[in-house]
């Protein structure tokens, strides 16, 4: 055994962790090598010193402090326990409330669909009407806030129309015989979605 090998196993040797054969080799090397012997003695001293470090006694009140803090935490937990038990109920109420508000909120897709559902009840496309029968009626969702314009043969006749509870009504007078075109532009103020209805009808003149 050389010095390098000896020193690599010195710790285990000092702590009695080597097998018999290795221990015998180490002892033989110790006998013939004064340097390693000095190293061994230093190692023994360190080992003895470290093994001789006595435990430090914890402060007397430590356990009391720990238990006191735990009791305080327990009391707090118990005080909060009824609230904790009700937590699922609170959570449910909250979820229902949020869901309700969410459902009440006009979804853009739904509004868009609503706007496009707008239809003219009268006149129907290219149908023939007598002048006094011509009524342009658009039925909208009454609870919604719409902005609209009606054009008759390209002329803005919005001011002549009425908008009552979601129904737009136009009763044009003095229409000439022939084809006429009515255009309604509707915009939902909340969602910003819009729709356009374009109808052509034939009016019998001279009525």
């Amino acid at each position: 055994m050389n010095c390098e090998e000896f020193r690599s196993k010195l710790g285990e040797f000092v702590r009695g962790e080597l097998g018999e054969a290795e221990r015998a080799e180490m002892e033989e090397h110790l006998r013939v090598c004064p340097d390693c012997r000095a190293e061994y003695e230093r190692e023994i001293r360190i080992e003895e010193l470290l093994s001789g470090v006595e435990r430090v006694t914890p402060p007397q009140g430590l356990r009391f402090e720990i238990l006191k803090e735990i009791n305080r935490l327990e009391r707090k937990r118990k005080r909060l326990r009824p609230l904790v038990r009700l937590a699922p109920a609170f959570a449910m109420i909250f979820i229902l409330l949020v869901s309700y508000l969410w459902l009440r909120r006009p979804a853009p897709a739904e509004l868009e669909a609503a706007a496009f559902q707008v239809d003219l009840l009268s006149p129907r496309d290219k149908e023939v009407y007598l002048p006094d029968e011509v009524k342009v009626v658009a039925a909208l969702y009454p609870e919604r806030d719409y902005r609209y314009r009606i054009y008759l043969d390209g002329e803005d006749v919005t001011s002549e129309s009425k908008h009552i509870d979601g129904t737009i009504l136009l009763e044009p007078e003095g229409l000439d015989e022939g084809y006429h075109r009515v255009l309604v532009e509707i915009e939902d103020r909340e969602s910003g979605s819009s729709a356009e209805i374009d109808r052509v009808f034939y009016c019998m003149g001279g009525g």
């Binding site: 230093r42 435990r55 402090e65």
Partner: protein, 179 residues
Amino acid sequence: MKDEERKKLLIELLDRYEERIFNLIYWKIGDYEEAKDLTQDVFIKAYKALDRFRGESSYYTWLYRIAINHTNRAMKKKSLLKFFSLDRPESRSAYYDPEPDEGEKWKEWALKAIKERIPSLPEKYREVIILYYFDGRSYEEIAEILGISMGTVKSRLSRGRDLLSLWLRGSEKVGRRSE
């Protein structure tokens, strides 16, 4: 786990490990008052986490891990690390140096010097030295607590001891020079 059961278990853990955990922390940071506060934190943390303890390791391994992690975090936070050096007057033992053949007198001096030196050993060596020598843990147990291999435990132990030994020799020389 019911409150009563949890409290009973905590008291068992305190009976078994209060002193050991306190020592582990004390030797890691070298401050008695701080060790008291940190030990208190460790047991309270353990108490709160008892329901989550899954029994994948033993209670002591689990508790030691909490203690080591918590202390390391606290040390990092408060920069509690103390650096003792041969040149600094607070390392008083370095200035008193009986000869090794003075027997008990030398031993007394060296023991004091070693104790002063331990908190300033590099963390990785300090932990294994504390667990091995002061807590009497086996290589296997230390490996499990620290999550390292047994080979690493042995090499760190050896290196830590070498450092202490070198330091002791160094302080002997300083002591002699100062005479």
